[in-house]
């Protein structure tokens, strides 16, 4: 390479490098939110509105099974806000002293439904049909790490179906995987939240609500996590979620709103 | 019952184009490295296919690209002794020699193997592996293995190049005996002049993929390749002349 073009390419590389460093500073504030995967669409929309109102703020999401998420936070993951699909996970975090006091609030409720694949020829109209011989595979979340799996477990036990169907259970890593297994036809039926079923309604044959009271209420708590980089911004986000505007977005996605937040 | 061939092969920029014939005699393919001698042997044995040509052993056509005949090496009934001997390292002397036999019975095969062991003076070594016997013994096993099927032709590719002189002389005697006892044509590849001259009934001189000359040892004495080989030989002989070796 001629000396001049060699110098030119080094110069350009330096420019690009400097440009990349400075880009880091432009996006002023960031918060990371670990949220139950069933909140994916609702929270993404809420975050967009939040960013529009706040200016120079970026919201980063980490969606997954609430059990996995809480494990990550306890292992030191740099998370600012945590929202789970059950009280148990938030309680664990609070016991470990990792919740910013006073920032916890219950902001939504959900219901559990039984779903079947569009292409399935089996007749499954209600939960007791799951005991039929032709039903060989039922997807539910892993009760150890997925709240939806815990609720499904409660439903099956309360309706005295658990012992009959336990051999047929296929455990998934999070509630959206349950939904995927059913939508893809890998299983004959599955138990997910009503809000999840709504996202893939076209690929499902039946969406049947489970009997009232067959499971603990599905309550979603949210809180700011201690040790986050920007506590005030985290608290601002939590406030936004429980505000009327946040509520209406949640409602639109099928969540029930709690009147008594604490 | 002799061998006649005509071969043409082009590979990696090297062209082999040769034609010669021999009777029931010991023919030596002589020439410098890379002249195409080993290649010729491979093609005679069916381990390499010529681009064009014809190979006839006795009355049988082994290869003819015009009629599409190309016998597999298994069907050519030719004994082959490789330069590195290629004895099966995981088999005993007995196993190596017996390898080419098919029957009819185990007893019949044992008789034949014992015969070979006697002819080649390998008694006591039957159960040993090739790595446990001497170079000369390995040579004899390779010969025995190749000859047990009573092939119609024996090919040897620089078989004695790794041996020291006394052993070499011994092996050359073996070859003369084989020629007499087995009554088949033998083709030997070498670049050693004295070996060529002590063994050959007929010398076929290779030079860069072509035949320089075919004839008796006396006839080819003046061939330029032979002259060059003689010069090298003389130079090495001079190094041992009395003038150069000081004695007290």
């Amino acid at each position: 390479m001629r000396p001049l073009s060699k110098a030119a390419s080094i110069f350009i590389m330096l420019l690009v490098f400097l440009g990349m460093i400075s880009l880091q500073k432009v996006s002023a504030q960031e918060i990371t939110i670990s949220a139950a995967i069933s909140l994916k669409e609702a929270f993404s929309e809420i975050a967009k509105h939040f960013e529009a109102r706040q200016k120079e703020v970026r919201v980063l999401f980490n969606f997954g099974a609430s059990g996995d998420l809480v494990r990550q936070i306890m292992a030191g993951a740099p998370v600012d806000v945590f929202a789970s699909a059950g009280l148990k996970e938030m309680d664990e975090l609070e016991q470990k002293g990792q919740v910013v006091s006073g920032s916890r609030a219950n902001f939504a409720e959900n219901t559990v439904v039984l779903i079947t694949p569009q292409q399935s020829s089996l007749k499954i109209e209600n939960l007791s049909d799951l005991t039929n011989k032709e039903v060989t595979r039922i997807a539910v979340g892993n009760p150890k790490t997925v709240p939806a799996g815990r609720y499904a477990d409660q439903v099956l036990r309360n309706l005295k179906l658990y012992d009959t169907v336990k051999e047929k259970l296929i455990l998934a890593e999070n509630v959206r995987q349950v939904l995927d297994y059913v939508a893809r036809g890998e299983v004959d039926a599955g138990l997910v939240y009503a809000t999840d079923a709504a996202t893939k309604a076209k690929e499902l044959k039946k969406i049947v609500p489970v009997p009232e009271g067959s499971h603990q209420p599905v309550v979603y708590p949210i809180a700011a996590v201690k040790g986050g980089k920007n506590e005030s911004l985290a608290k601002a986000f939590v406030s936004w979620v429980i505000s009327p505007e946040g509520e209406s977005i949640l409602r639109r996605h099928g969540f029930k709103i709690i009147t008594n937040k604490k | 019952m002799g061998l006649s061939l005509r071969l043409f092969k082009k590979v990696d920029g090297f062209t082999l184009e040769v034609e010669w014939a021999i009777d029931e005699e010991l023919a030596v393919l002589f020439g410098f490295s890379g002249a195409g001698k080993s290649m010729t042997l491979q093609m005679i044995a069916g381990l390499m296919t010529p681009d064009r040509g014809r190979i006839i052993l006795g009355e049988e056509v082994l290869f003819d690209n015009q009629t599409g005949i190309n016998l597999s090496p298994q069907d050519r009934s030719i004994g082959y002794v490789f330069q590195d001997l290629a004895l099966f390292p995981h088999m005993t002397v007995w196993g190596n020699i017996a390898y080419g036999l098919r029957g009819p019975t185990r007893k019949a095969m044992a008789v034949k193997v014992k015969e070979m062991i006697e002819i080649f003076h390998l008694e006591g070594l039957e159960k040993k592996k090739p790595a446990a016997i001497s170079g000369g013994q390995q040579q004899r096993v390779a010969l025995a293995r190749a000859l047990i099927r009573q092939p119609r032709l024996l090919l040897l590719d620089e078989p004695f190049s790794a041996l020291d002189s006394p052993l070499r002389a011994e092996m050359q005697d073996y070859l003369k005996t084989i020629k007499q006892d087995f009554k088949i044509p033998v083709i030997l590849v070498t670049h050693d002049l004295s070996e060529a001259y002590s063994l050959a009934d007929c010398l076929i001189i290779y030079s860069q993929g072509r035949i320089s000359q075919v004839g008796s040892p006396r006839e080819v004495w003046t061939n330029p390749i032979i002259r060059e080989a003689k010069r090298v030989y003389r130079l090495s002989a001079e190094a041992l002349s009395p003038e150069r070796v000081k004695t007290d």
Binding site: G67, N142, I170, E186 | F82, A86, Y99
Partner: protein, 221 residues
């Protein structure tokens, strides 16, 4: 030791063993052909067989779902004919282990066979033995040590398979939760002391197999 761990260990050994049997049968044959034969598209086939070695197991898992899922190209046919799907069974775990470990066997076999002195094979031919007979009496016996090293290596890899297994067999307690998957669940639910035992088991087993494979390979080449 928890009964669950005991089951997982047994399952892992069972899956690895079954996968290795298939791997040896298929891998030696494929490795032999690649070492001995020349044919059109040979290098392409070699790349295809080596891909699972370099691709992340999740990619392999993805392709397996496309092929063997209940609606997959092969899975659909299977389901229509027999009403049975391989997904979420231990057979799927065997399939996943088979696909990811097969390249190891093929490459080891190919190297072992290619390192045999070609004159030995030629000598066998001139002594009247066909390719098949030569393979049985000369080639495979001489490649024996390399083949054994490849087998042990494949077994170890099969024991440790996780990504693709999770995707096609799932992580179903009592059915498909192999040791790696159990460790994942235990760690994910905070049962660290149990996880520790499982991790120790798997590490020791893998180290042992690796040691054995190395020793055998050293004597082979």
């Amino acid at each position: 030791m928890n009964t669950d761990l005991w089951f997982s260990l047994r399952l892992s050994l069972q899956v690895a063993f079954a996968a290795t049997v298939l791997i040896v049968l298929f891998g030696v044959a494929a490795g032999y052909l690649l070492a001995r034969k020349n044919f059109r598209g040979k290098e392409l086939i070699d790349i295809l067989f080596t891909l699972p070695l370099v691709l992340p197991p999740t990619v392999t898992g993805y392709y397996l779902i496309i092929l063997f899922g209940r609606n997959g190209w092969i899975g659909k046919v299977l389901y229509t004919w027999t009403g049975w799907s391989i997904m979420f069974t231990w057979y799927a775990a065997v399939l996943a282990s088979f696909v990811v470990a097969l390249p190891l066997m093929i490459r080891t076999t190919r190297a072992a066979i290619e390192s045999i002195d070609p004159h030995l094979i030629q000598a066998s031919f001139t002594l009247g033995h066909s390719e098949l007979e030569t393979a049985w009496k000369v080639i495979l016996p001489l490649a024996r040590r390399g083949l054994l090293a490849g087998t042990v290596l494949s077994f170890a890899r099969a024991m440790g398979e996780f990504g693709a297994t999770l995707m096609v067999a799932g992580n179903i307690p009592g059915k498909t939760n192999t040791l790696p998957l159990t460790i994942y669940t235990l760690a994910g639910s905070g049962e660290w002391s149990q996880a520790q035992i499982a991790v120790l088991l798997l590490t020791l087993a893998s180290a042992f197999f690796l040691f054995w494979a190395n020793r055998t390979a050293r004597k082979a080449f």
